[in-house]
Amino acid sequence: MSISRREPRLFPHRHLLGIEGLTPEDILQLLDMAEEAVEVSRQVEKKKATLRGRTQINLFFEASTRTQASFELAGKRLGADVMNMSVASSSIKKGETLIDTAMTLNAMRPDLIVVRHHAAGAVGLLARKVDCSVINAGDGAHEHPTQALLDALTIRRAKGRIRGLVVAICGDILHSRVARSNLILLNALGAEVRVIGPTNLLPRGIENMGARVYTNMREGLKDADIVMMLRLQRERMNGSFVPSVKEYFHYFGLDREKLSAAKPDALVMHPGPMNRGVEIASDIADGAQSLIREQVEMGVAVRMAVLEALSRHLSNAEGR
């Protein structure tokens, strides 16, 4: 049985490789399905039979705790058999190429493969070599579509809408796939998107991608409804991109003083894992305006929705 109440619209994609290429209707369909998955996840009996008999492989070339756990739980709640493969135990270390790995796994006849890889485009490359559905769980600095979907779901539930909201994405935009996917999604659903960071951490041409650019936190946060913080990796704050943690936090770390520039009811998000005291002060992360824990919950729901939407394309699936 389906977790969707309405007559299910067939999701028009076999893979989820990015937000790029999805229509607003596609996005809203996934968000609506995810709303229902939230209800399922809050019941005592959390298990559905939608993916019973299906095999889901989580193939992670890059270490991840929360995303992998979230996909695993999502698959299990839908009744799939879930297998986790991480780089440490895979043959990539023995020199096998990405494509060989893809073809080897493909021969085991999985129904869904969830992939995270450190190179942009790698998940799309893998998707062209396999017969099953592929979900991008993050490819380099390119896209992380389920993160953007879970962020959108979190925002919509908290604010009741997305259209017209001012969303400020702050920090290391340059290296962030989360920022790219969010930028595309939030634009598609009619939000006003700003990016805030030192120019060294902003991609060239970002102003043509639907974002207003700020290098001053207070100016960028003015009247913002949502403040989305990004993680800054340690190796990038020792003088290579920014001079020091101290200076970065001083100008771009989210503390109460800077947050006061945003709307009084502004909400704060972070995709995790957080560097407390680097990009976000602890009292903000744990405070009343923080949506960070809701994001994690919505993560499972969104991934359930994505798995279910794609599963309708699987052979012998209902709805086909």
Binding site: T97, A120, G121, L125, G140, R180, R204, G205
Partner: protein, 432 residues
């Protein structure tokens, strides 16, 4: 290749002489490996005794192309390309002289390796495959090589291939020393500290793809540095390949100043732009990277105006394993020997360049840089010639290419221009 060739008379040809800019219907006679005479006045009814007569049926007869930049895997990486397979690819593409890059294993940084390449090419190749030699020992960018002895052994110029010499002092001394031998220094102009993290042109497209970019400044900074050193030393200098409009302006200024400076452009930067990368097409990962369309247009104008002297294939065979990788991790390079002419002819067909201008930058000017007499239809010049139909259409099937690697960006492309005969020193090396 040493055997004496038969006298040959090519009749009913459209003679293309880039040196004089003349195009005329006529015949051309070859004897003892050189052009004996040509023109509309040749008496085609009386070929010399025993002569081979070729009816060109109105096709273009031009000097064979001279390609200053091809990577060949011999020695050590013959699975990528041997001298023999490179020669077959070149002949099929109308390239009769190919300069091999020195980044073999061992690199061509020792006169014995130069000698080896020359002998192997003599024994296995139909076209002229001639070695360049490394500019620095081991291509490490630290100590200059033996320009004198390498040159005597037959190396035609000095270059570190796809690498740039980042140390200005090393470059200055190499240029100074090269001047004493009148040696030509050819340099890949890319400041490594700005380019080494990048995999494509820096800009909005790279940002959308989440790929690190290579700014144009990586090229212009290195080019400006080199030109300052040329001003200081007076050495003959050739920028291997430029890719952006800004570099054209820099080269133009240096030429106005009278510096002994020339430059080249890759056929890929004339035919393609960054948008062709599309969804991470690894065959289009190149160095220098494909730039924006405006840059491509300015490269074409540069060829038309002569600021850009030569077009090169930048032939760089990469096996499947090196290219079937995520874009960020795969090797640079595309093959080009066999497709350079038909791809370049697009510029003629759409009115950007005249055929003689094109052949000048593909044959005459590169031959000049090598101090070779080829590259023109001239009495007494070596009979390195090609017969081609500039209009004949075809769809490129990579499986038909002679190169051992099939990493062509023009897979499935509709092209025009087929080489029907290639001749080196009066000897036919390719016919179809």
């Amino acid at each position: 290749m040493m055997s004496a060739s038969r006298p040959t008379l090519i009749i009913n040809a459209r003679l293309i002489d880039p040196e004089t800019g003349r195009e005329e219907a006529g015949a051309l006679a070859v004897e003892n490996g050189v052009i004996r005479e040509m023109g509309h006045a040749i008496d085609a009814s009386l070929p010399p005794d025993g002569a081979l007569v070729i009816d060109a049926r109105g096709r273009a007869l031009s000097p064979g192309l001279v390609d200053l930049r091809a990577f060949v895997g011999e020695p050590r990486a013959e699975h990528r390309e041997s001298l023999a397979s490179a020669s077959r690819a070149a002949a099929a593409g109308g390239v009769t002289t190919v300069v091999c890059m020195p980044d073999t294993n061992p690199p061509i940084d020792d006169p014995a390796v130069v000698d080896y390449i020359i002998r192997r090419a003599r024994d296995t190749a139909g076209v002229r495959l001639i070695p360049s030699a490394a500019l620095t020992k081991g291509l490490h960018g630290k100590e200059m090589t033996e320009f004198g002895l390498l040159g005597e052994a037959g190396a035609v110029f000095f270059t570190d291939g796809a690498r740039s010499v980042s140390n200005a002092q090393v470059m200055r001394r190499a240029l100074t020393y090269a001047r004493d031998f009148d040696a030509l220094i050819v340099h890949h102009v890319e400041e490594p500290s700005l380019s080494s993290d990048g995999v494509m042109n820096e800009g909005e497209l790279a940002s959308r793809l989440g790929l690190p970019g290579i700014p144009k400044a990586a090229e212009t900074i290195m080019l400006e540095r080199d030109l300052a050193l040329v001003r200081l030393t007076g050495a003959r200098y050739h920028a291997a390949m430029i890719s952006c409009a800004e570099s054209i302006a820099i080269i133009a200024r240096a030429k106005d100043e009278g510096l002994p400076v020339t430059c080249g452009v890759s056929i890929n930067n004339l035919a393609l732009n960054e948008n062709d990368i599309g969804s991470y097409r690894t065959f289009l990962k190149l160095s220098p990277p494909l730039r924006a369309e405006e840059d491509r247009r300015s490269m074409i104008e540069g060829v038309a105006s002569g600021i850009i002297d030569v077009i090169v294939s930048d032939h760089n065979p990469q096996d499947v394993e090196a290219k079937r990788q995520p874009f960020i991790e795969c090797a640079d390079g595309a093959i080009g020997l066999e497709t350079m002419l038909p791809v370049a002819l697009r510029l003629v067909h759409n009115g950007d360049l005249s055929l003689t201008t094109l052949i000048r930058s593909l044959a005459t000017r590169p031959a000049d840089l090598l101090n070779m007499k080829q590259g023109r239809l001239k009495k007494g010049a070596p009979a390195d010639l090609i017969l081609f139909d500039p209009d004949e259409p075809f769809v490129l099937d990579p499986d038909t290419l002679h190169s051992r690697c099939k990493n062509t960006p023009f897979d499935g492309a509709r092209l025009q221009g087929r080489v029907h005969m290639a001749m080196v020193a009066g000897r036919i090396v390719q016919e179809s």
